[in-house]
Assembly symmetry: C2
């Protein structure tokens, strides 16, 4: 099986410029989406199900609104995908598990309802690993069908990467948005914890977030903004803070480089791309602090050594009741990986969990202190491009720090290794998601150009 | 229609004393529950559905464990009811709405799973008002079938009051646990916000809590404790803090009296009972501070004047996406009350909601300061006994302060007015639920005796 078309991102925000004049319409935009769906879906398997009649009708109504000069929002008419652990009233929510085959929630999740109210066109439900954990469900990487798209938001990343949708909802509790964004070559946003309302989504762990995969930073920001404007963050929190449109690019004064969690495992080409990026940053006058040159960064790196273990233990306690419930229903319908995970945390006590929560809070405070000397941190989104094989969704380790810290993270598809995409990760500070976007915008326009040049060089 | 039997609470914790010796068994306890079910259920309509074969089998297994000297917990074998907005894998969850008729969640809620793991016997799903809001669903007050049982945890309170179950899960976001406890004459506990894991329950608003209706303070505490020990509080929070068994009674040094929110509406008999109670407290040497005698109490009372409005507005924003989703499905299936409520908050903005959250936080801080001079606050659980009629679930205003403040509240069935029960409410401090229980225990054993004597006098 070979690719006839190269994957290409399709920004909806860029397209809307022509909607007001009427030279293009949301309905036309959707029809192109559906052509791409016909081309790509048989190869990549990004969707669990679709509701195309409803999508076409929604795009038609959106077209009318743009024509009348009354779009509901900047994403009115945007084709979007919904990770299949997030509830939809018009489609089943199957959670990547046979235990939820055909299951219907009878409501829209808060984020889905917000998207509809903003005029977005829900194309379908995208493939998730089993209960958004590790077990893959067959989606392939559009850059190379023999490689994993990453997980757990596999279908969301793959469908955005080929332009079927301009954005898709994902989730992240360990690395489920940043990693597939990196592997599939799209933009990914994991917000500050609690910043987007998770009600009606099966991502209930304390460091879990609704994430977004998108065709550009502008698409990401706008989707996040339109959701939060309508349904807020998790109940009782202020929700995502920031302007009505993508924050303007801002050059950072100083950036920290994070090498935590398996920097040794970074593949040669990936390390090279990242080092070139750092060199380029320095050449533009950005101060770059690393564990080798800065005590505060070194202190944070030391705290993050066990980030993955601590994250898994927090999640393990928080998911235990659910996995027990599923195991009792039919343990034969659960993957071996999930059964082993359930087993692993079976004896955790509430006291141990409380200790873990305090430890996590302490590490978060160490990170927050870095804000006085670094505007953000950068690192790779993954130790390398998407590995070959569909049996594993790859190594999530590089996405763990932002998950544990509860801070915003963005993956920018700026690198290419072995003809596969790889993301530059920007890690911001809690509740300052807009600042992370501003810096990411600047990085895209400066480092991005370099990366493209390098990409050209690497391919020649 | 007349009552042949007087409602009577059946504490499970009191009964377990005989389980170790084998003179009584959980199975026998359940059979008595089911006899009461047969007697009462046709009159009070407390259940939406039951799973009696599963309950009998669970009681049988519990009996074996007690016999072997290995009960899973102090509530192993306790018959419990589950409010029908909380998900159960073996029974539908109908939310008091035709829109969820026959709907199944495919999992147990965290609290339900915890109860099963603790050995509790789930008897059935108890009647809730429509989506735990205002519209009643026919349950009657066992003390007088022409009177409301209160809401929204109507069936939970009524089923505990007549002894079918020793405890039942409820929820409270305005007054849905404290009020029905008061009206039905059982004990009620609304914990500190976030203290009991709400995952899998349709009470997702920021001041909502899983509450417990029970036959005694010991039953309440133990159920709460066994839940939190197994599934914690809401993800990321420490969960209910306190000892393994009911905290020992502790005489308060000083108590605040709260008259907020419609003290003028308090009926004569109710006011009399409460004043006698206060007099009795003073006679035992407890310092009692009121708005008339203490500036701090007066300041808090002033802050609480708009507690109901602020609470409703917070909930209104937080529930809007859901009500919109239901309205789109079939507005004809929603009550007029709910449609009006949805309409009322339709134009709220995120900025207004953020202002409301900050205002609530400010009021909470004012309350927290009271801790230095008062060990708890007391007030009535409702302005009077359950009013006649089934069309309304009564006035929730007295339960609002604890809901808005996010602090623990207990309703103790110590008063009687017009041959109907009425609760004394104890309002504690955030995350100090055990202290509230300790003081409530003391009040029950001292004021309680007085109240009984008064009750006798009033009836003669």
């Amino acid at each position: 099986m070979t690719n006839h078309t190269k994957p290409a991102l399709r920004s909806y925000l860029a397209a809307t410029k022509n909607f007001a004049s009427g030279t293009r319409t949301p309905r036309q935009f959707l029809e192109q989406s559906l052509e791409l769906y016909d081309t790509w879906e048989p190869r990549i398997g990004a969707f669990v199900c679709t509701n195309l009649p409803a999508a076409r009708a929604a795009a038609e109504r959106s077209t009318e609104r743009w024509r009348a000069g009354k779009p509901r929002s900047r994403i009115d008419g945007m084709p979007v995908g919904i990770k299949d652990i997030i509830e939809t009233v018009d489609m089943p929510t199957e959670m990547g598990s046979p235990l939820f085959s055909g299951w219907r929630s009878a409501k829209d999740a808060a984020s889905v309802r917000a998207l509809r109210d903003a005029g977005a066109v829900i194309v379908g439900k995208t493939v998730t690993t089993e209960f958004a954990a590790s077990e893959p469900r067959g989606t392939r990487n559009p850059w190379n069908l023999e490689h994993t798209p990453g997980g757990s938001s596999s279908g969301s990343a793959a469908s955005v990467a080929v332009g079927i949708v301009s954005a898709a909802l994902g989730t992240q509790v360990i690395g489920s948005t940043i990693r597939p964004a990196s592997y599939c070559g799209c933009f990914g946003f994991k917000p500050s914890v609690n910043a987007l309302n998770r009600e009606g989504s099966h991502d209930y762990q304390s460091q879990s977030c609704t994430g977004i995969l998108g065709a550009s930073l502008a698409d990401l920001w706008q989707v996040a903004h339109e959701i939060v404007a309508r349904v807020g963050g998790d109940a009782g929190t202020p929700g995502l803070q920031g302007p009505d449109e993508l924050p303007l690019p801002r050059k950072p004064r100083s950036l920290a480089v994070l090498e935590t969690g398996g920097w040794d495992a970074v593949r040669v080409g990936a390390k090279q791309r990242f080092e070139e990026c750092v060199a380029r940053l320095k050449s533009t006058g950005v101060e770059v602090r690393t564990r080798h040159t800065d005590n505060n960064v070194a202190a944070l790196e030391a705290e993050l050594v066990n980030a993955a273990e601590l994250s898994h233990r927090c999640n393990g306690w928080e998911a235990r009741w659910f996995l027990r419930s599923m195991r009792d229903r039919d343990s034969g319908s659960l993957s071996r990986t999930l059964l082993e995970r359930a087993e692993k945390y079976e004896d955790l006590t509430l006291d141990q969990h409380r200790t873990d929560l305090r430890e996590r809070a302490r590490i978060r405070a160490v990170h927050a202190e870095l804000a006085s000397i670094c505007d953000a941190a950068i690192t790779l989104s993954a130790p390398g491009a998407a590995p070959q094989g569909l049996a594993s969704t790859g190594n999530p380790e590089f996405a763990v720090p932002a998950s544990l810290l509860g801070v915003p993270a963005l993956s920018l598809p700026l690198f290419e290794v072995d003809h596969m995409p790889l993301g530059l990760q920007v890690v911001g500070y809690f509740d300052r998601d807009a600042d992370a976007f501003a810096i990411a915008s600047w990085l895209e326009s400066s480092v991005g150009r370099t990366a493209s040049a390098l990409r050209g060089a690497a391919q020649s």
